[in-house]
Chain length 398, copies 2
């Protein structure tokens, strides 16, 4: 018999469905589907209770299947950060998309315009953020060029981004926004849709009071900016922003009509370090990297997941051994290794072959390392692989 | 005319070859082919001069095309860290591969055994590292099971890893290695090939003297371990290890028969911070992330490359604007953004649309974020896209 001549990766995936979690190769990105669905339900309930729209950020999961699941649960649509992510979502049949980021290159804006027309043909809506007159004009030009080629016209919803403390993109709150609003309103293919006000850093302030204080300033900035725009006779239909870490504050402020949380679906180790606001839903960890011990000594073990298997920009992963006698702390072992030492009074070093579960420090860039996520039902200890979820927009960075 | 219905990513790539660097979309991973070829030539010359074999680490580039280029330049083969990387390389026709890492799961070892037979059929050689009797026995069992299915037998070269200061995998130097050597020699499908002695941390010690001191201890550990093994009447044919940062020391030690550098090909920002040893070849930066400014204010600009576009585990990227009046420092702006502030006495904030080049802090995990690298000849300012180089083993983590 001849040896096999091709690597059977897709066979592995196809055969995995219906099998025990034990069959999952390591390192492997695993979703606890039960926990994820509970997170989704809690988010939908939170939005209903606060009478606010939610438009979850697909930069977290980059998956058409999960975007559709979110919209079935009541989300009005999705956010993305990149034109290429929007393209993947439209290719997959998601037609309500907000690119919550600035796009300024003309070749990219031509792609945005093409998407706007494809989405309009499906009775959906494309939106985008801007923070410069140059960006507005280039977008309008791209829309005009696309319009002349397409059967039907389309109108892009344009949000003016204001910098409410993130110190990144956005115009300063107040008068600077007015010029952009007028610029947008010059172009028939663009509609001024409201304000983008996102303070990502505030979400990682550890105490609930710190986050409330930061978002109180955000709300003030939004109210001020809205007032100066409305004083020009232009309504501000919607204010959109917020993320998992601070959304209780934005929701309570009364000025946000739409929330953009992404991480709530998976809950990473970093967010779990925040003091929980009493009003915050109890989101659970639902994303894990399954790993196994490949080397073991007296004082430490080494597992087969390093930072090519999970992102460490927001800290190292937590370790779940599902064994009260084996608590472990993860230390950086490089690209392909993790170093595990006994922690919390435990002295047990796991043996070679032992399976462990890592809770990534930051889910979004972790997901971006994988082509697929393995959905498990029935829990991580004894569950079954229910389905494979493609990370359709993995690497879609342009 | 109907709007396009599919996203033309592959069209973009196909059309890029022959075009100016200006046509490269951002963020995009770009190789300065001229610099890379000079690095390759310097490495080959260094190995010739020191009469040492070189087996570059393919975990850096994960590319079949570049692995073959390295072997054409004189490399004896390649190293990989993962079984899945080895599979991709064998699928691509690379048949001299060393898995310089421990593999212990039986399903993975079945894949290793299958590779051993495929490689043997091509008159190549597969090697692997071990640090436990369990690992040796499971490998032997997998080889026996594969042998009974395959037309021809194959022998895997097995290196015993000793921990020479990295504090990760490996047995302690000295007697602990003997038991493993005897264990390996029990199995006809395994051949004891020598010692793996890799001290990754030593490569990042900033002063040349610190690195020399660290590798002097490595050499002592190797000599001691070799002596206790040879005292048992077993020859130690080869000692393999070293990386770009410290390889001048390993080469000078006289105990290493083979070097495993990976980063020399691209040279990341982190290695460039080392004080150069006078004996070290002058490797140049050859890997860049092309990015552009999407937002610009008085005090800072924002570019479209964050840590989903380059790895930040070894520090933030350096910025090349190719403009003496525009020196910039990169600050972390999150997953999709970089924040750029004037530096080095410069006060110029780059305008919206301005193209810039980032030198990643760490090349290996940066490459792992991309499906392809864009090879440019003639320099980054005025060059031409010569070829697209697939990152064949991107995400091959199992």
């Amino acid at each position: 018999m001849k040896p096999p001549t091709k690597t059977p990766v897709s066979d592995y995936l196809a055969q995995l469905v219906g099998q025990s979690v034990n069959a999952i190769d390591t390192p492997g990105l695993v979703i606890d589907l039960d926990a994820m669905k509970r997170n989704l339900g809690r988010m939908a309930e939170f939005a209903r209770k606060h009478d606010v729209r939610w438009r979850p950020h697909a930069k977290t999961h980059k998956s058409v299947q999960l975007a559709k699941l979110q919209m079935q649960a009541g989300a009005v649509g999705i956010c993305v950060q990149k034109t290429a992510e929007a393209e993947v979502m439209v290719d997959g049949g998601v037609y309500n998309i907000y690119i919550s980021n600035e796009v300024v290159a003309s070749p990219k804006l031509a792609r945005v315009a093409a998407l706007a027309h494809r989405i309009a043909a499906e009775n959906g809506q494309l939106s985008i953020a801007v923070d410069s007159a140059e960006g507005v004009n280039r977008l309008a030009q791209a829309m005009n060029e696309a319009r002349s080629q397409a059967a039907a016209g389309a109108v892009v919803d344009v949000f003016v981004e204001i910098d409410v403390g993130q110190g990144r993109c956005g115009v300063p709150p107040g008068k600077a926004a007015i010029a952009l609003v007028h610029e947008i309103r010059k172009h028939p293919a663009l509609r001024f849709a409201g304000l983008q006000a996102y303070h990502g850093k505030a979400q990682h302030l550890r105490s609930a009071q710190q986050r409330r204080d930061a978002i109180a300033i955000v709300a003030d900035d939004v109210i001020y900016t809205r007032r100066v725009i409305e004083a020009e006779g232009v309504p501000v239909d919607l204010v959109t922003g917020a993320g998992t870490g601070s959304m209780v504050c934005e929701a309570a402020s009364g000025v946000f009509g739409e929330l953009q949380p992404g991480s709530f679906l998976f809950m990473d180790a970093d967010y779990a370090q925040n003091e929980r606001d009493p009003a915050q839903p109890q989101f659970e960890h639902a994303l894990f990297v399954k790993t196994q011990v490949i080397s073991s000594r007296d004082d430490h073990a080494v597992c087969d997941a390093g930072h090519k298997s999970h992102a460490i920009d927001s800290g190292l992963p937590l370790v779940r051994a599902f064994d009260s006698e084996c608590e472990l702390e993860y230390f950086n072992g490089g690209d392909e290794h993790g170093i595990l030492r006994p922690a919390g009074g435990s002295r047990r070093v796991p043996a070679i072959g032992r399976m462990l579960w890592l809770i990534p420090g930051h889910c979004d860039p972790t997901v971006n390392l994988y082509d697929f996520m393995i959905g498990v039902a029935g829990g991580l200890r004894k569950g079954t692989v229910e389905r494979i979820i493609r990370v359709d927009a993995r690497g879609a960075a342009t």
